[in-house]
Subunit: 336 residues, 2 copies
DNA sequence: ATGAAAGCGCTAACAG
DNA sequence: CTGTTAGCGCTTTCAT
């Protein structure tokens, strides 16, 4: 036996079992009652011929492929595997094939992938957009394919959104810094209009204002969501006329870069400068000092996305959109 | 305009352009000469109707889906995104849609995914098996779907393999430790029969023997490819009657766990105990002390896998199998 | 350079 | 409970 893959089709099974292809189809799908005797014959034939349904043909005929695309900006960012894990566990349980594609944060790649998913008749898309606005996503994908967007909603009620409720976690972080005696707190965000940085910066400003702390524009910097981005932005903040005593960052990689910048400036962490990240990726617990950060429950986001998508598939395109915000929490380690 | 997704089919385009669907198909695929005037008309109709070919139908008819599955054991392991990145760049350039699926290292999941890929008529599979042997993979997938396996080849010449040449890098690591004065070197591998640990342990034994160093069974331990696995295994080695002065590890996560174990035992790194990892994942440069490790060129492996797969697709199943070994190198940082 | 007809493998719609 | 017919949307013969 060299080859475990036979090329038997449903017609071969039907002939072998002495029934019609339709009956074989229904015996396998359970969509129509089939007598026990017939079902047994069919199961024997399926096993004997090693029949594997052609899922492409099934998809064309039934207009449902049982595939779900998860489109992420940077699979190297450890945040996404967590989301993917949650998505995976929920969807495989329901018989879907979830698969991951990677845009590298390029807007044109986001467009290309979305169009490709539609052309391939995926049953749903879960996406963390880096460059595309929800309206454009909806425009590209159309109404036939359900989309769940990870991130801040745009106010419209025509798309499902799932997000981490950064505000609670960031507020907790700022309060914690305040309790530690910090009165001047900086923030490093991502590039304008890209990713979660804008929203996190707003949450930060609100939290700071709520405590009656002042903010200085010199304490706010932006850069790519990378270690190097954090290094540059951190260095700029630390070079300001009166540097802050603490810095919050829009993600953990930026925070790790900011720690590099602090060390390069000869500052001790957290005694000279406290640093807090966002995301609580695996690395956060491995760096030195261990990173205090906001856990955004990435796996929970993945689970919520998958569940939202399944509900949307069940309810159809006209059902009211769901906007889910999952709580975040401060994880106190050593960097603050 | 609420919906960017039209439901125009090739028949609508043909009617709009005043030609047959056959001609539209050929105008788009370029598989048959079409007059310039006709092609222009068709392009206009395609644009006006916003025609998007149905790729499921195309796949059923042409028996080629232009999809490539990348099956990995643990997408959370930072090694895989690197591989995926290389795979992605090569395959998208050739018009394929590469997608990633995750088995969590469960043998049954590997089987299930492979069968699903065949049923979905993917044009190729790139896989890093954790539990399945090459023969079983070939058996499940059959001859129709090309497979490139990441890892040690099994001696047969019926499957394409791509691997990092661990031996050169591990040999360099052992020599380096020897140069530093180490004469007793331990090794932490993965579970028996799972992943690259077995082969790396063999390479280690050869390198140690080549330098005339003795090995002690107490200095060899095994555990899961995780930080906790490295912590446990490292603690066991350090608790042996005469602990080694250096430990090499089958991957970086194990090495980071071994560093935990060393610290827990009150040992300084690298002065009391030197530690070397394998893979050079991003974290390796972020931990403290920064991890000396063997870079296995994960992105290069991804590129080689994709190129091997494309050649296999072009050459057919009967062409001789390619076994590619990419060089690895020692990256000296602080832990050794 | 183009069209007509057939069919990829399956399931839905329509019968009994 | 089962079968017959039709057709998902496209590409491939085969014919001109």
């Amino acid at each position: 036996m060299i080859d475990g893959h036979s090329i038997a089709g449903i017609i071969d099974v039907a002939a072998d079992a002495g029934v019609s292809p339709t009956t074989v189809s229904h015996a396998l799908s359970g969509k129509r009652a089939v007598s026990a005797k017939t079902r047994l014959k069919i199961q024997e034939s399926v096993a004997r011929l090693n029949y594997q349904p052609n899922l492409v043909a099934r998809g064309l005929r039934s207009q449902r492929t049982h595939t779900i695309a998860l489109l992420v900006a940077d699979i190297s960012n450890p945040y996404y595997p967590e989301v993917a894990s949650g998505v995976h566990d929920v969807l495989t349980r329901d018989g879907y094939l979830p698969f991951v594609c990677n845009t590298n944060g390029v807007a044109e790649a986001e467009r290309t992938f979305l169009a490709e998913f539609v052309a391939r008749s995926v049953d749903g898309i879960i996406m963390h957009p880096m460059a595309l606005a929800p309206a454009e996503i909806r425009f590209i994908v159309g109404r036939r394919v359900p989309v769940v967007i990870i991130g801040e909603d745009d106010g419209s009620h025509s798309v499902d959104f799932v997000r981490s409720d950064d505000r609670t976690g960031i507020s907790a972080g700022v309060s914690y810094l305040h309790d530690q005696g910090h009165r001047s707190i900086g923030f490093i965000s991502g590039p304008v209009g890209i990713g979660p940085g804008d929203a996190r910066l707003i949450s930060f400003r609100l939290a700071v204002a709520a405590l009656g702390l002042r903010t200085d524009d010199e304490w706010i910097a932006r850069g790519p969501y990378t270690r190097d981005g954090g290094l540059d932005a951190g260095a700029r903040i630390l070079a300001s006329s009166t540097p802050p005593t603490a810095i919050m960052c829009a993600n953990d990689l930026i925070a790790i870069g900011a720690m590099d910048a602090a060390r390069a400036a000869g500052l001790a962490i957290p005694s000279d400068i406290a640093i807090i990240g966002c995301d609580n990726i695996g690395i956060a617990d491995l760096v030195s000092p261990r990173l205090t950060t906001i856990d955004n429950n990435a796996r929970g986001v993945g689970i919520a996305c998958a569940e939202t998508l399944l509900l949307r598939i069940a309810d159809g395109p006209d059902a009211v959109a769901r906007h889910t915000a999952l709580p975040t929490r401060l994880v106190i380690r050593q960097s603050a």
